[in-house]
């Protein structure tokens, strides 16, 4: 038995169904949804942990966990295959007195308190598996210590007109939080919660235990734990995050976040050698670009064969784009074959799809207002017949 203690461990909530991603999450948990050509959404929080020197991560899974489990494996791609610590997938399990699914975000961690106890950490970082951002959590931990806080919540500034879509933190001059409002109609501040919480473990443990005993609670951090702690006058602070952050919970936002990678104004650098985003790699040769190909402002991962025209799009690992095919403002997920002459516009095409000869997917919105764009989604593994037209 080790008696080493970890200063901080991360607990990553990855159990959500992500039902607003429609067909993309039919058989896949949201954190395992492909992103940016060679990544999956969960690579971002996991890589953030590793780049912040957090080497112990519990991933709580519940919905369609097979693909996510296989993807995480022993954690080696993220450097998380450790002797003591590393990454652990934590599904709900049967106990002697009762067995239940994770009832809410707080309950998921409550059910895994014995896991946390194994590492006896001073701090617990609670993360969610559906946001795209790069953040050094070690700075947040420093802030937490400096403020002598019991709970620190990462916030980012959002435009005031969008603030009512978020959980908003109202703070004093010293960044201490005096009020938390979930999706306020009349927001008082623009500090939106990023769903990143840092707790002193002893405090968290007490609140999780009390929350569990409360039959009226929905066992949720935002709805129950945070308001309760505020009500008790705990030392709670808002940590200001500056940088790119995007919730990719909807088809539209997932498409936008992918397109952001093609926008030079957006500060999300996948190439920073000091802050890499790690991913599980599959052995694929370098991409072949034929003499008939045309690539305009696009990201293309390895293992592809490109013979068509790629315009403002993301082509993921292992795809084949046939001669005369056109991919326009679209996200093509891994191992998709687009046959010659097919046209894919303003669409997300799920993994392993086959788009037949001269098929048409999506609609051209090149001259449309952004608000009119309706992204077409093709679910994982679907076959679109030759000549077929799919617009939604």
């Amino acid at each position: 038995m080790y008696t080493i203690r970890k200063e901080c461990i991360a607990m990553l909530l990855a159990g959500g169904q992500g039902s607003r991603l429609l067909v993309l999450t039919e058989n896949t948990a949201k954190p395992a949804v492909p992103f940016g050509g060679k990544y999956r959404i969960i690579d971002f929080p996991l890589s953030n942990c590793v780049n912040s020197d957090i080497d112990t991560v519990g991933i709580m899974t519940q919905y369609q966990p097979l693909e996510l489990n296989a993807y995480i494996g022993n954690g080696a791609p993220w450097g998380l295959s450790r002797n003591f610590g590393g990454v652990h997938v934590l599904p709900p399990y049967a106990k002697s007195d009762n067995s239940e699914w994770y009832k809410g975000t707080a309950n998921a961690i409550y059910q895994n308190m014995s896991f946390v106890d194994m590492y006896n950490p001073k701090y617990v970082l609670v993360l969610s598996g559906d946001h795209i951002y790069k953040a050094d959590y070690s700075e947040m931990i420093r802030f937490h210590k400096k403020k002598n806080a019991e709970c620190t919540i990462a916030v980012l500034d959002v435009p005031i007109e969008e603030a009512s879509r978020f959980g908003i933190m109202n703070t004093n001059d010293d960044d201490s939080i005096y009020e938390f409002e979930e999706k306020p109609a009349q927001p008082k501040s623009t500090k939106a919660s990023m769903g990143v919480y840092l707790f002193n473990y002893d405090v968290l443990k007490k609140y999780l235990t009390e929350d569990e005993a409360d039959p009226n609670s929905s066992n949720d951090f935002g709805k129950n734990i945070i308001p309760k702690m505020l009500g008790d006058g705990k030392r709670m602070f808002a940590y200001q995050f500056n940088g790119y952050w995007k919730d990719v919970g909807t088809i539209r936002s997932l498409w936008e976040a992918n397109m952001d990678l093609l926008d030079h104004e957006v500060p999300l650098d996948l190439k920073d050698p000091d802050f890499k985003i790690y991913a599980r790699n599959y052995a694929q040769p370098a991409t072949y670009i034929s003499s008939t190909a045309e690539n305009i402002n696009s990201l293309i991962a390895e293992g592809c064969t490109i013979k068509g025209k790629i315009n403002n799009s993301i082509i993921s690992t292992g795809c084949s784009i046939g001669e005369g095919a056109v991919i326009n403002h679209s996200v093509i997920m891994p191992n998709v074959t687009v046959e010659p002459g097919a046209v894919v516009e303003y669409a997300i095409v799920g993994e392993n799809c086959n788009i037949g000869n001269n098929a048409v997917v999506g609609t051209n919105y090149d001259n449309a207002e952004s608000s009119d764009i309706n992204i077409c989604v093709v679910g994982k593994g679907r076959k679109i017949a030759d000549g077929e037209t799919v617009t939604e």
Binding site: I277, P285, A286, I289, S290, A293, S298, L299, I315
Partner: protein, 375 residues
């Protein structure tokens, strides 16, 4: 787990000129993201060979960095290991005088390992091969040694090191020559031999002690002339890319753009593994023009690239033109530079407006880390 593997990493270093000044021939970059040794290691692992010794003598830092514990090839496990075998003691820093001398340094490995057979491989021949079939052929033949060989095209130019054989209807070698094209339907050895481990240990001990160092010339050829060795040939039918020298290496890189060769060498049921570098996907910027190229991850392409191999993390700036060239990892081609028929080694900076013109038969080679000045 009937067979273990021995990989010779240095033997043909001298044939690659500048490119092996700072690396073993085994760590020669190939095909945008690979090193020569990736192919032989992946083939071994895909064939169930899990005990592999890599014999090396000098310049092996880049090789060790590349291989690590072998995790990326699914080695470095309790019952699957990669051993890097540098020389004992100090010795003269030179290439081994032959593969038997090299093997003599790997005696500890050969004695300690359990499998009954040994597969010995060079790294310069690239293919995707199932060694399990070759082993079965060796066992069925009852021969002392099996040589893996293929039938080359008519116009093939024999290299001085080529192991050329003809075989009878049972696959038994009936004529043998080194560096000389035999009449009839010759097969060319692929630098891969299968032999019983105990037999190999005996050969090493008795030959090296008599100052004879070449497995092919001193053992196989002379014993074949005596009629005291039975050699079986296993004919490999897939595509084979032989890298004899800088020029054939240069040409072979372009061959993987041929759809048939690409599919044959990079099989999804027998993948070729390499070191993971966690690069982002490559970015093709507005205004770039990329035609007939192989491009790895992590590149930023603004300029024009034609018929070229672009390794990981390369930048080709606006207005630069790269044609018929190989640009290795981390190199940067400045704005307006013009490159034709060149091999640009790792981390080279080609300054804006610089020109580098080689010929298809004599590509220009730019040394690792060098800077090419502009006009």
């Amino acid at each position: 787990m009937k067979m273990c593997g021995i990989v010779f990493s240095n033997i043909y270093d001298s044939t690659m000129g500048e490119l092996t000044a700072h690396r073993t021939v085994a760590s020669m970059p190939f095909g945008g993201r690979y090193r020569f040794i990736d192919f032989v290691l992946s083939n071994m692992v895909n064939s169930g060979i899990y005990n592999i010794g890599v014999i090396t003598k000098y310049n092996y830092q880049s090789l060790m960095d590349h291989l690590g514990a072998g995790r990326e090839w699914d080695l470095g496990r309790k019952n699957a290991n990669l051993y890097i075998l540098p020389p004992f003691g100090t010795g003269v820093s030179n290439v081994y005088r032959g593969n038997l001398e090299a093997l003599n340094n790997a005696m500890t490995f050969l004695n300690a390992t359990k499998p009954d057979y040994v597969l010995m491989c060079d790294t310069t021949v690239i293919c995707n091969i199932d060694y399990d079939e070759a082993l079965q052929s060796h066992i069925d033949s009852g021969a002392d040694v099996t040589v893996i060989a293929n039938n080359e095209i008519k116009s093939y130019e024999c290299d001085s090191n080529d192991f050329v054989i003809t075989v009878d209807e049972n696959g038994v070698v009936n004529d043998l020559a080194i560096g000389y094209m035999l009449d009839g339907k010759p097969l060319i050895g692929m630098g891969m031999f299968i032999i019983a481990r105990k037999t190999l240990i005996n050969i090493i001990e008795s030959y090296v002690s008599r100052g004879r160092y070449s497995f092919e010339k001193d053992y196989l050829l002379s014993r074949f002339v005596d009629g005291s060795v039975k050699i079986n040939a296993y004919e490999f039918k897939g595509h084979v890319l032989r890298n004899h020298n800088t020029l054939s290496y240069f040409k072979n890189n372009f061959k993987i753009m041929n759809e048939e060769i690409r599919a044959d060498i990079f099989k999804s049921d027998a993948p070729i593994y390499t070191k993971i570098r966690d690069e982002a996907p490559s970015y093709y910027h507005e205004g770039c023009q990329v035609k007939e190229c192989t491009v790895a991850d992590g590149c930023n392409i603004y300029g024009r690239v034609d018929n070229s191999i672009i390794f990981r993390d390369v930048v080709i700036e606006k207005g630069a033109t790269v044609r018929n060239s190989i640009i290795m990892q981390g190199s940067r081609i400045g704005a307006g530079a013009n490159i034709n028929y060149a091999i640009i080694d790792k981390n080279v900076t080609v300054s804006p407006t610089a020109e580098l013109m080689g010929a298809s038969s004599v590509p220009v080679v730019v040394h690792k880390g060098d800077t090419v000045n502009g006009k």
